[in-house]
């Protein structure tokens, strides 16, 4: 493949793990709603979206394991890495909060991923281009579903508006981290594998802007941004999430059924 000549295995693996961790962690968070959603339809919707995210994570982990070349498979990457080895964005690991918070987080992440998948459909890395072509269509549904809830709740009752505004406040410090650039993202961009996240901000704003306008929501500029997820520095929430996610393989290593 063309990509192999211009980027090291380590760099490509690091990039793939960031993407994969985002999807696994957020997919796990969404799956926590199963059986607890405010209505049956959402009890179907959230696990379905979680399934998409975890499916995408699997494709990415499989590929990351092959690129890394140390014999780690998708299960080892998901279940046997420690908290500090996880490189997901901090937004993904945040606790679900209420339904408004969950939907806004989902909407933000989908609005970040859709332009990224779309750009990766023409990646110099054929394998990623294939994964992206499928995922891009799936995430379009997530934008629609979560975006509709942002509008309904933001422009809904006094209570729902209050909650959606609180979600905008709560998530504001976590948005900028999505668009951070570093040596890994720049190397990946130079190799034509994926665009540098900084270039995705206008597309994100173009998705979020009209939805906020329809929902009657104001964008909140945060005085500070939370960061560190890409370097393995996480909030308190991730450890608890991994404890549940990894419990079985930690207790019975190599277990299958």
């Amino acid at each position: 493949m063309a990509a192999a000549s211009s980027i090291s295995r380590e760099t490509l693996t690091a990039f793939l793990l960031r993407l994969a961790d985002d999807h696994l962690v957020l997919g796990h968070r969404l799956s926590e709603w199963c059986g607890h959603a405010p209505m049956l339809e959402e009890d179907l919707a959230m696990p379905n979206m979680a399934l998409d995210l975890i499916g995408q994570a699997r494709s990415l982990y499989q590929y990351a394991g092959e690129v890394e070349g140390k014999g780690r498979d998708e299960d080892q990457l998901a279940y046997m890495r420690r908290e500090r080895e996880y490189v997901n964005c901090l937004m993904a690991e945040r606790q679900n909060g209420d339904f408004a918070h969950t939907m806004l987080r989902q909407f933000y992440f989908a609005a970040f991923m859709q332009p990224l998948w779309q750009a990766m459909m023409t990646s110099t890395d054929e394998r990623l281009a294939g994964i992206a072509a499928k995922a891009e269509k799936e995430v379009a549904y997530h934008i629609r579903h979560a975006g509709e809830w942002v509008v309904r709740l933001g422009d809904g009752t006094e209570e729902s508006t209050r909650r959606m505004k609180a979600a905008v406040e709560a998530l504001a410090p976590y948005v900028n981290e999505l668009f951070e650039s570093d040596e890994v993202s720049r190397a990946v961009a130079e190799a034509g594998i994926a665009p540098d996240p900084t270039t995705l901000r206008p597309a994100f704003d173009a998705i979020v802007g009209p939805v906020f306008a329809e929902a009657g929501l104001e964008w909140v500029e945060t005085p500070y941004g939370q960061t560190g997820g890409r370097q393995g520095r996480h909030g308190e929430a991730l450890g608890f999430l991994l404890a549940e996610l990894q419990y079985m393989q930690r207790t019975y290593p190599g277990m299958t059924w």
Partner: protein, 221 residues
């Protein structure tokens, strides 16, 4: 990056002509056919006969063995929608002989579709029962689209009570976008979406306002 899973390969063929998204929502105007989907231009039907696999067009002639292996694999039904076969759904991308090994290429509908393993196992079993040494390869590119569901498959879905997907709809890109879905039981276009996501990743839940029956809609992707 020479290392690749032997299960996941990228197919080298191009999608059949006419299966790309058109970017246009092909709605019926008022007074359109009551059958709804029947009235829509059916892109894939124009380029493939109901009984043939889309990728089959790239192979001018199949050998006798290949033909029989293809038939065995094509008869495998979807575990979640047993009314349709994997050939009807367009997820069986082809069967070729590699020496004495019958190689079936299967593509998932959604990346996270939990039925993928069951389908691959069923294909393997079907090929073995037909007397072949089987190998099943998972291909993810080009990405599966509901436009690959054959005309026969669409009719089987309808008869089973699942509204077939709208063709090349771009309405999934629009918030509160309405897709015109005909009730699979009475054909009425007076239907309403209950839930964007249904019993499986590929379906949404609708209700018919005319006959009041709830039904599944196979989402366009």
């Amino acid at each position: 990056m020479s290392a690749r899973s032997d299960k996941v390969v990228t197919a080298s063929f191009s999608p059949p002509a006419g299966v790309q998204r058109t970017g246009r929502d092909q709605r019926l105007g008022p007074g359109g056919s009551r059958q709804g989907d029947e009235g829509r231009a059916c892109l894939s039907d124009a380029v493939q006969s109901p009984s043939s696999d889309p990728s089959g067009h790239l192979l001018p002639a199949r050998g006798e063995k290949e033909e029989s292996a293809y038939r065995a694999a094509a008869a495998v039904v979807d575990p979640e929608i047993p009314a349709v076969t994997i050939a009807d759904l367009g997820i069986l991308r082809g069967v070729e002989m590699d020496g004495d090994v019958a190689v079936a290429r299967v593509t998932p509908t959604y990346t996270g579709c939990p039925a993928v393993l069951a389908i691959e196992l069923a294909v393997e079993t079907a090929l073995r029962e037909a007397g072949f040494e089987p190998r099943v390869e998972r291909v993810i590119s080009p990405a599966w689209t509901t436009d690959w569901i054959t005309a026969e498959g669409r009719e089987k879905l309808r008869a089973y009570g699942i509204a077939p997907p709208a063709k090349a709809s771009n309405s999934i890109r629009a918030l509160f976008g309405e897709t015109e879905v005909a009730c699979p039981r009475c054909g009425s276009l007076e239907t309403a979406r209950i839930s964007e996501f249904g019993s499986t990743a590929c379906k949404a839940l609708y209700r018919c306002q005319s006959c009041h029956e709830p039904f599944d809609y196979f989402k366009c992707i």
